[in-house]
């Protein structure tokens, strides 16, 4: 039911996304209204509009709610400081929202638990209750409860961990065993049902474990593919080795599609090696001819890129001589957190004016952390440079 009500506000959201009326409030206007930075006149006008426009009202409500959730008060409350109970209520509301179809399926186990436990209790009391001590019945019931909980937990972990894509066969076997257990329980063959549920729980656990391994190897394949593509971008395409690299890349893609991630990583590594053989040698920073500012600046940008890719703090400090100690510490920390990082600088303009210059273009950063997921970030850049006694240095990066 609440789901239907939520669909109602989602409908308003869709309509606003499709374009409202000319009178509708802009996003910045709503943002300012929500955080209280609107001038009084704008507040009055916005109030009039919100009184009639459900689409803008919904957009405002979403933003206001997020500001509430992420407010420092909420942060302090979550940390255990005394205060009103706003965050717990938000959390509770969040948990009350409908589960995804996959998890909802997993939760059917909870319903089955109650049914099976009821059957178990009735059977043990009716058929054997007079022959067994109450504590034995209680122990059996506890054991069944434990096994069913393990099934539910195993299933949720397996599905939530991506076993439906990464460990399909094991997951299917687990589901089949669980269905068999449910059939046995329905026939009141409870000892056999318990054994089947135990098997199902073990298989779900195995599916979750395999999915975890597959996720790890997939991440390794992703990283290998990134490294390979970086090398490919540098390689000369008019060579036979380049064609060999392309073939290895295709084999990698094919293996990746089959979820054979380890094999894919091997192919990508082979492709990377081939591309590397036809890449032009990485230019060292030879001192460019005096007076050729453009070349000098390009050399500085190249050194900047190399400092990041080789995690060379000393080189980084040379190309960015104006860095404060705090900034340098941040750079060092960033280097330590990364497994590796690549930077591709596409320089589009270099404007020199005396001892000052600005270089602009687009940069593609690929940051592979030691822990966590790879980040790709493509953005425009403007470097401000100044010429000092030691040559050009970068003084600002925007």
């Amino acid at each position: 039911m609440s789901d239907d009500l939520e669909r109602l506000v989602e409908e308003f959201e869709r309509r606003r996304a499709q374009g409202g009326t000319p009178e509708c409030l802009s996003d910045p206007a709503l943002e300012a209204l929500a955080d209280g930075s609107s001038p009084a006149a704008a507040v009055a006008a916005a109030g009039k509009h919100l009184a009639t426009c459900l689409e803008c009202l919904q957009a405002y409500a979403t933003l206001r709610s997020l500001l509430d959730v992420a407010s420092p008060e909420a942060t302090r409350m979550a940390a255990g400081a005394p205060g009103v109970d706003r965050w717990p209520r938000h959390l509770a509301a969040w948990l009350r929202r409908p589960l995804s179809p996959k998890l909802a399926a997993g939760w059917t186990v909870a319903g089955a638990t109650a049914a099976v436990l009821l059957a178990w209790t009735i059977t043990t009391h009716v058929n054997r209750g007079t022959e067994r001590r109450p504590t034995a019945v209680h122990d059996d019931r506890q054991e069944m409860e434990r096994v069913l909980t393990a099934v539910a937990k195993g299933r949720a972990e397996a599905v939530g961990g991506g076993a439906d894509r990464l460990a399909t066969d094991v997951l299917e076997r687990a589901k089949a065993k669980e269905a068999e257990a449910e059939g046995l329980a329905a026939q009141q063959r409870l000892a056999a049902a318990m054994a089947a549920y135990r098997d199902a729980a073990e298989r779900y656990a195995e599916a979750a474990r395999r999915a975890g391994v597959a996720r790890q190897t997939r991440a390794e394949a992703d990283q290998a593919r990134i490294r390979m593509r970086v090398e490919k971008g540098r390689a000369r395409p008019d060579t036979s080795l380049f064609k060999g690299g392309l073939a290895a890349e295709q084999q990698g893609d094919s293996a990746y599609q089959r979820l054979a991630f380890k094999e894919a990583a091997g192919h990508y590594q082979a492709a990377q090696d081939l591309f590397a053989k036809v890449a032009p040698p990485s230019p060292m920073p030879p001192r460019p001819p005096e007076g050729d500012s453009q070349n000098e600046i390009r050399a500085v940008l190249d050194a900047y890129k190399r400092a990041i890719e080789t995690k060379d703090v000393a080189l980084f400090q040379r190309v960015r001589p104006s860095l404060s100690d705090a900034e340098l510490r941040r750079v060092r920390a960033s280097f330590e957190q990364s497994q590796y990082q690549t930077v591709e600088l596409r320089v589009e303009t270099i404007e020199v004016s005396g001892d000052e210059a600005r270089a602009g273009g687009r940069r593609l950063d690929v940051f592979v952390p030691k822990e966590g997921r790879t980040v790709h970030n493509e953005a425009p850049f403007v470097f401000t440079l100044e010429r000092g006694p030691g040559g050009w240095g970068i003084v600002a990066v925007n």
Binding site: E6, L8, E10, D35, W94, S100, G162
Partner: protein, 197 residues
């Protein structure tokens, strides 16, 4: 930040980000706590993503936002603009996760579901029209309370907004009671007749 209800009691988000850029450890801790809460609020809307996928989207967005903060590339200066920016990053991250995990599968609206069947859509359309007509027949204040509460805005914020936007002074309890009644009215008249009463 957090804005209107407690205006002036805490520094704005821009100050927090400035402290992060100054490499203040406590500021980064505060930022992560703030980000997690915002991410939970935003990503809970994407019901078609599994919990693991939502975490994946959160991780990806956190790194992206942290890089933007470190690089001083967030152009918004007000709390609303910053929250809006982070919300966009989170939404994009959620969509990226969907596309990565289900290549070739069309992106459903809000990643909520696969889309209702034609029969469900027809039923929903009737309910929607009824609910919208009903909501539009209410006073501006009641419409405001209803939509704000459905979006889970805090009662204190709704109360403050009613004063600020409509010049209407009501107690927090009144806000909650009124929403309860309005919600039941929609359910009774337009949905399946169920109510909390």
């Amino acid at each position: 930040m957090g804005g209107v209800v407690a205006a002036g009691t805490h520094p704005p988000l821009g100050t927090l980000l400035e402290r992060c850029r100054g490499q203040e450890e406590a500021a980064w801790d505060e930022f992560h706590g703030w980000f997690r809460r915002l991410a939970a609020g935003v990503l809970s809307r994407f019901q078609n993503l599994s919990p693991v996928e939502r975490e994946e989207a959160e991780d990806s967005a956190r790194v992206a936002v942290a890089l933007e903060v470190s690089g001083d590339r967030i152009t918004g200066t007000t709390d609303g603009a910053i929250v809006s920016f982070v919300r966009t990053v989170l939404t994009n991250a959620a969509r990226d996760v969907w596309r990565r995990r289900r290549p070739g599968t069309p992106l459903p609206p809000l990643l909520r579901d696969e889309g209702p069947s034609p029969a469900e859509r027809a039923r929903f359309q009737v309910q929607l029209e009824c609910a919208e007509t009903l909501v539009r027949s209410w006073s501006a204040e009641n419409r405001f309370i209803f939509v704000m509460k459905l979006e889970r805005a805090a009662t204190a914020s709704i109360k403050a907004d009613l004063e600020r936007l409509f010049g209407s002074f009501v107690s927090a309890r009144t806000v909650d009671v009124r929403f309860f009644r309005l919600r039941n009215e929609v359910r009774r008249r337009c949905l399946d007749g169920a109510s909390d009463e």
